[in-house]
């Protein structure tokens, strides 16, 4: 019963949706269309700034703890400018958990000199490695959340194209954005059809129908891929992706560039000391 109740509201939502494209599992919802100084910056500039900031963070040795404090202030400052609520940031930071979970084990499996903390013997090098992963991943994710909050996905893709990222990579990212919704909608319909016929897998050994759904979804997506390719061929595609991103006009690098500039300066000081 619980499963049906979970599905029903989203069916209702799909019906009431003005867009009529059914259920939305949209990457676009990461973006908040507000008017802030950060929103108004060109996507290309934001991408370069983000890259510069990430580079500075990654290059900083973990022992330079004050540097990380400054990075945190920089991120928080930009987030405040972008009017990104702390609650939203916190929720979106959860995505890093699977990636940093490994870091939790490092103090215990690390080699080298050990020290006793709360009765547990932990590796000093392991502790630094764990801190490094946690701090860098959190700062990186937080900065990326700002980009997603302030920039529509389509602008990010166009920005990547203008930065001469290989077009095939931009196209793959674009396809993912474009078809995530379509595939999620298909999965949703398969689930509804399955539940409508009385399926309610509760335990692992009842999962046969779920596995069949996954298989069906894979085959359908594969076939869709073939049809999309046909549609591309029909419009003259010969293997080279053309440039379709609109021209964004002249770019204003100042004052956005100050942000990664400060981070890079901090990183240089931290590395050379």
């Amino acid at each position: 019963m619980g499963r049906v109740a979970w599905i029903a509201p989203s069916v209702e939502q799909g019906r009431n949706n003005d867009d009529m494209s059914g259920d939305h599992h949209d990457l676009g919802t990461l973006h908040a269309p507000l008017e802030t100084p950060v929103h108004s910056i060109d996507a290309t500039v934001k991408l370069v700034c983000l890259l510069g900031f990430l580079f500075a963070v990654v290059a900083t040795p973990p022992q330079a703890v004050p540097a990380f404090a400054i990075y945190l202030m920089l991120v928080v400052g930009v987030e405040a400018c972008a009017r990104l609520p702390v609650r939203v940031l916190g929720r979106r930071l959860l995505i890093e958990i699977p990636f940093v979970a490994f870091a939790a084990a490092l103090p215990f499996i690390g080699v080298g000199p050990h020290r006793e903390i709360f009765g547990l013997s932990v590796s000093i090098a392991g502790c630094w490695a764990a801190w490094s992963i946690l701090a860098k991943a959190t700062l990186g994710t937080a900065a990326t959340v700002v980009l997603a909050w302030t920039t529509p996905v389509t602008d990010i893709l166009a920005g990547l194209e203008r930065l001469h990222v290989p077009r095939v990579l931009v196209a793959i990212a674009g396809f993912m954005v474009r078809y995530l919704d379509v595939v999620a909608g298909e999965l949703h319909r398969l689930q509804i059809a399955r539940v409508s016929r009385g399926d309610n897998p509760r335990w692992f050994w009842q999962g046969r129908a779920v596995a069949a759904t996954a298989g069906t979804l894979f085959v359908r997506s594969f076939e869709r891929g073939e049809r999309v390719h046909n549609a591309m061929l029909a419009r003259g595609f010969t293997g080279q992706f053309p440039t379709t991103a609109p021209d964004a006009g002249p770019r204003r690098w100042f004052p956005a560039i100050v942000w990664p500039g400060a981070a890079c300066a901090v990183a240089i000081v931290a590395i050379t000391r």
């Binding site: 867009d19 009529m20 494209s21 949209d26 676009g28 996905v153 389509t154 893709l157 166009a158 674009g174 396809f175 954005v177 474009r178 078809y179 919704d181 379509v182 869709r224 049809r227 999309v228 046909n230 549609a231 591309m232 061929l233 029909a234 419009r235 003259g236 595609f237 010969t238 080279q240 053309p242 440039t243 379709t244 991103a245 609109p246």
Partner: protein, 261 residues
Amino acid sequence: MTTPPALQLAGVSFDYPDGHTALRDLNLSVADGEHVAILGPNGSGKTTLVLHLNGILRATTGSIEIDGLPLDEANLTEIRRRVGVVFQDPDDQLFMPTVRQDVAFGPATLGLTGPDLDTRVQLALERVGMTAAAERAPHHLSFGQRRRVSLATVLSMDPTVLVFDEPSANLDPFARRELADIIQAAPQTTLIVTHDLLYAAELCPRAVIIDNGTIVADGPTATLLADADLLAAHRLELPRSATLARTQDGPRPRDEPTNGP
């Protein structure tokens, strides 16, 4: 010198790799500017035929010419520019992040850039009344809007032949009407592949019935649709309501083909 037909298929046969014969010795000639309905039941070879018209599938035997230009490797790019195919599922056709980029994809692959490209995109979107949606993502549009944008993506290539695969499928009555108006006004040679007989009757003075991979009837749409036995023999049927209206009011007058062969 006479103008060559917009579309000429001579003895076209096609076998799928699994040995299934989808088209057998198919002959069809469509004059410039003509609107023709391709009718047939499911599995009759309609979609296979569509995929032949711009060389996505290549005939096992027989030949295809578009405006007198033979469909071969050398002419493939030009033929794909001339033949605009609007596929059944707009989600297959619209693969770019925004409507504008999708409409620009075809002309951009042909090498257009800058203001030329912008003009093409603008004109195509105006033709289908979707200018306001240019910066939107395709999956945020209604099904009917997506179908119209699909049409814009081929119009931007300045085609001479338009091919629609099941254009009325999944459309609500209003979206159906909007699309019909656009198709009706199209100056291009137009092929409508469908089993929606009323839509065919409305949009095409001429119809061909295809079954089991070959053409079994070719003539004025009104004549073919009035032949209940012919329709029944090929798993086609007018909606009951339409037949009823006809028996009550007598046969409705329909356009005769103006420039058919």
